[in-house]
Point group: C2
Chain length 125, copies 2
DNA sequence: GCCCTCTATAGACAGTTGTCGATACAGGCG
DNA sequence: CGCCTGTATCGACAACTGTCTATAGAGGGC
């Protein structure tokens, strides 16, 4: 389950992402301050229960897209608060959005998730 | 704080961790609130540049162990501040420590890192 | 025992973050 | 056009976080 086999752009991005993150382990050599600040911002975006659930809700959705109205109704929080969390995730590069008519749809950026996953994987030496 | 004796225990834990993370994708189905809160705490621990560099410094070290004194000297921060960050990482389960005489040595918990990596990996199906 | 070094804890304080209500903007529909 | 719905931004405020100094605890050497 998860992403359908349909020829959408998301699958292509996912493959490209997982191939690109070859040597990016956090633990293979000490990272410099600039990289640390850069990566910390992304982890910080993931470091909130609401945002984690947002990512999960978006990613688990068939078709990979979720309307903001569906996300807002899934939480016991105000609409501006959800909008704020979506903005944080968007600025971290983890999701992106597209407006279609009245509604705005969000989807994951698989390459960004894979990049972080690659950083955390420990070479089994 | 406690690390079990022999160094090859770590390898066993690492392998077990990477094998166990089969179906733990964040995006395969929506996670519940409790899991989200739990996981967010770990991502939050990683969401600070200093702590990311600490993880990197510890993981990149030959032997996998680093004395606190080496970590403190790697930053332009006070010793209590580094101690605080190490505590955050320890409480998130990402690192572990052992006192040997006067010094305290920190090492990674590979299973914890692999767990988070597994969560972020996007199933390419 | 006394003292010295290494590490952790406590308390304080400024900066950041999550949340809200109010409001502005965007776009479809009479 | 005016209105209505969906989304984003603004401003405020309490709660949390990162940092410091001061101090406590652990353990070795004299």
């Amino acid at each position: 389950m998860s992403i359908q086999g349909a020829p959408n752009d998301l699958a292509v991005i996912a493959v490209a992402g997982s191939e690109a993150c070859a040597q990016q382990a956090l633990v293979s050599e000490p990272i410099d301050e600039a990289s640390a600040a850069d990566l910390a911002q992304v982890f910080k975006a993931l470091g909130d229960p609401v945002r984690l659930r947002l990512v999960s809700l978006i990613g688990a959705r068939e078709g990979g897209e979720v309307c903001v109205c569906d996300l807002t109704s899934a939480f016991d929080l105000s609409q501006p608060t959800i909008s704020h969390h979506l903005k944080v995730l968007r600025e971290a590069g983890l999701i992106d959005s597209e407006r279609r008519g009245t509604w705005v749809y969000y989807r994951l950026v698989p390459a960004a998730l894979e990049r972080m996953a690659g950083l955390l994987s420990v070479p089994v030496s």
